[in-house]
Structures are given as structure tokens and as C-alpha cells.
């Protein structure tokens, strides 16, 4: 269950981001993540852990929106991209070469946040 630790890391980043708006507290509706297929993350567990972790916090009600990114390799001989898989032992279909260059699939990325600034907590303009 390292998704718990990943959620902790994500919350630290979110808390840092919140401080940029201090003293206002952004009301976050969605946090958009990119999670590559070639990572050790189970997206459903991440969503589940997140929901529990944000209860009773400033992020209560915010949902994770996870975009899956497929594993793609680039063939060393013809430069074409392909989908390496366990079934084919990650070989390039063109020349059977091992998985050399990964062009996508290692992403664990916070892309963006949907939010509004709550007028009740926004700083008063002088």
C-alpha cells in the first residue's frame, strides 16, 4: 500500500500550493493527475486513499481525476513508437530489440487543479 505514502506526498505538494493563496483557502473540486502504466501505482487505490485522507481537511470533497498514460517505447532501429508489453517481453515488434527508450508511461505528474477562491476567506481589499 505505498499509495498511502504517495497520497502523503501529494498532500504536501497541495499544502505548499495552498500557501500561495494564503490567507484565502482555495476550494478545490478536482486535482488532475497523469499516471503512467509503467509505474508502481494502482490508480484506483490512489483515488480511494485520497478520499480518506482529505476528509475533514481543506481538500474535503476534492476528487482525483487520473489520466492513464500508456507505456510507449521507441524502436532503436526504425525510430517508430510501439507499445511494449509483458506478453512480448517488452520487445520492439520491428526488430525484437529490448526496451531501450521509453517515451511515455513513467509519468506520476500533477497536471492541474480546478479550484475557486472562497469569497468568505479571501483577503479584504483595502
Amino acid at each position: 500500500m505505498h499509495e498511502v505514502d504517495m497520497t502523503k506526498c501529494l498532500l504536501l505538494s497541495m499544502n505548499q500550493w495552498r500557501q500561495q493563496h494564503d490567507p484565502a483557502v482555495p476550494r478545490v473540486s478536482q486535482v488532475h493527475l497523469q499516471v503512467g502504466d509503467f509505474t508502481c501505482v494502482e490508480p484506483e487505490q490512489l483515488v480511494h486513499t485520497w478520499r480518506i485522507a482529505v476528509q475533514n481537511s481543506w481538500l474535503a470533497g476534492a476528487e482525483l481525476a487520473i489520466e492513464h498514460v500508456p507505456l510507449m517505447g521507441r524502436c532503436v532501429c526504425c525510430n517508430a513508437t510501439y507499445s511494449p508489453s509483458q506478453e512480448t517481453a517488452y520487445r520492439s515488434p520491428c526488430c525484437d530489440h529490448p526496451m531501450e527508450e521509453i517515451v511515455s508511461g513513467r509519468e506520476l505528474r500533477i497536471r492541474s487543479v480546478d479550484y475557486s477562491l472562497n469569497p468568505l476567506t479571501a483577503p479584504v481589499e483595502s
Binding site: 505505498h2 509503467f38 508502481c40 517481453a89 526496451m99 521509453i102 517515451v103 513513467r106 506520476l108
Partner: protein, 254 residues
């Protein structure tokens, strides 16, 4: 409102851990020591290999160990017995070491010795082929062990670990005569996911391959001495994907 957290690259999900890992690595570089993160499934032979290796490389190299274990200190006791300082890090229920735990271990280590007197710091991770692959602790190199009894399919089943490793040690080769496993197939599967890593066949029991393994360690130590402040996270798959961790610390200066 729809706002990117970071303008150009996107903030890595593990940025908080990575920031701490980079901080640890800065310490290692300042102390002019090499840090190796040793990972494998439970029972692949990490501790037995370290016993042999530390015995063989003492006193040529000054070493210490940060020993990750979920609940016990059994491994730490075994390694203390070969005469090096060992700091046990019990992770509780966590199945991997993270950079903050290693930082805590470093504080304890500094109470016992001056780390700049060390040449090599071992981090023996919790036995697990999944989680430790994603959590950097500040190491300069990752070493993954795979014992011949685990079967030749494991590099394909746990590809991220073997992709991330700088060196893969196929351990317990003394058992090969008793097993229906072809070591060449294990090696070939490692190469499928990581064509350029160092692959070594070793046995802590018979001593096979240990000379080559120790030479690899010596080479990494002198490379680190000649060229400190090399940051392994500045290259590799994530850097290629525009996820260079070095670009994020201004957002996570915790």
C-alpha cells in the same frame, strides 16, 4: 478556474519525497561517500551478500549500513556482527524506505560517527520488488538482487524495479544445479527491460562472482570521488519525459 501547479513541466507526484532525497544526496556528496540502495524481494539474499561483501572490503573501504526492516532488528544484528556501524530503521507497516526515513537514520548515524570518514553507505531496503522502485532515498546507484529460485519471469513481472536498477545481481547461483532454471533466461529478461545495466552472477555461499561485484563497487566509489555532485535523477526515463525532478524544489521547499 483551471490552473497548472507548475507552468511548464508539471509537478511530480513524489516531489516531496524527491526533495528530501536530493537533500540526502547533497549530504552524501559533501561527505564524499557513495550511497548504494540495495533492493530485492524478501529472502533474495541482501543481508547474506552484505555480510560477505562488507567482510571482504574491510578495511579497504570504511562502510556503514542503514538497515530497513519492517518490525525486527535481526538483519541489523547480523551486520553489526561483521563489524560495521548499523543503524536499524524499522518501517512499521511501510513496505519501503522513503527519503525521510533515511534522513532520520542519518541523524542517528551522525551521533555515532563522522560520516565524512566513510567511503560507502549501504541502504538495505525492505524486501519488496514493487514500492522501493519508486521511492528514491538519495542513493547514487540502485542495486537490485534476484535469486535464481525466484524464477526467470520476475524481471518481466516487476519491470520497473529492474528498469531502474544500475546493477542487477543474480544471486544464489550455487543452487543452479538443483533447479530447472536457465540463468541465461533470467539475464535475458533483465536485458529486455534494461539493456544497459550491469548484470552479475553471484553466490554469497560459494563466493562465485563476488570478485566482479566488489570491483563494480570499487569502480562506483572512485567514480563518485572523481565526480561528486552527480545527480542520477537528472537523467533516466523521467528526465527524458520532462519530469526532471531538479526543476521542482522551488515549489516544495519544505
Amino acid at each position: 478556474m483551471h490552473m497548472p501547479l507548475e507552468d511548464t513541466l508539471g509537478l511530480n507526484l513524489l516531489a516531496a519525497n524527491q526533495h528530501q532525497a536530493d537533500h540526502n544526496r547533497e549530504h552524501f556528496d559533501a561527505w564524499r561517500l557513495l550511497c548504494l540502495n540495495v533492493m530485492s524481494s524478501p529472502g533474495a539474499g541482501k543481508t547474506s551478500l552484505l555480510e560477505r561483501t562488507i567482510t571482504a572490503l574491510t578495511p579497504e573501504l570504511a562502510m556503514a549500513v542503514l538497515e530497513g526492516d519492517m518490525t525486527t532488528q535481526l538483519d541489523a544484528e547480523r551486520l553489526e556482527a561483521v563489524g560495521v556501524p548499523v543503524v536499524p530503521i524499522t518501517t512499521g507497516r511501510a513496505c519501503h524506505l522513503d527519503a525521510a526515513m533515511v534522513n532520520g537514520g542519518l541523524s542517528l548515524l551522525r551521533q555515532r560517527l563522522d560520516p565524512s570518514s566513510l567511503d560507502l553507505l549501504w541502504v538495505e531496503n525492505v524486501g519488496n520488488l514493487v514500492c522501493p522502485a519508486e521511492f528514491e532515498v538519495g542513493e547514487h546507484r540502485k542495486v537490485a538482487l534476484l535469486s535464481v529460485t525466484e524464477g526467470d519471469d520476475k524481471p518481466l513481472k516487476y519491470p520497473v524495479m529492474f528498469r531502474e536498477a544500475d546493477a542487477v545481481l543474480i544471486t544464489k547461483t550455487d543452487l543452479l544445479p538443483h533447479l530447472p532454471v536457465e540463468i541465461a533466461r533470467i539475464e535475458a529478461h533483465v536485458r529486455q527491460v534494461n539493456p544497459h545495466c550491469t548484470v552479475l552472477r553471484v553466490s554469497a555461499s560459494s563466493g562465485e562472482g563476488l570478485a566482479e561485484w566488489h570491483d563494480w563497487i570499487r569502480a562506483q566509489c572512485s567514480e563518485q570521488l572523481d565526480n561528486p555532485n552527480t545527480d542520477p535523477s537528472s537523467h533516466g526515463d523521467r528526465a527524458v519525459l520532462g519530469q526532471d525532478y531538479n526543476s521542482v524544489p522551488q515549489l516544495v521547499n519544505a
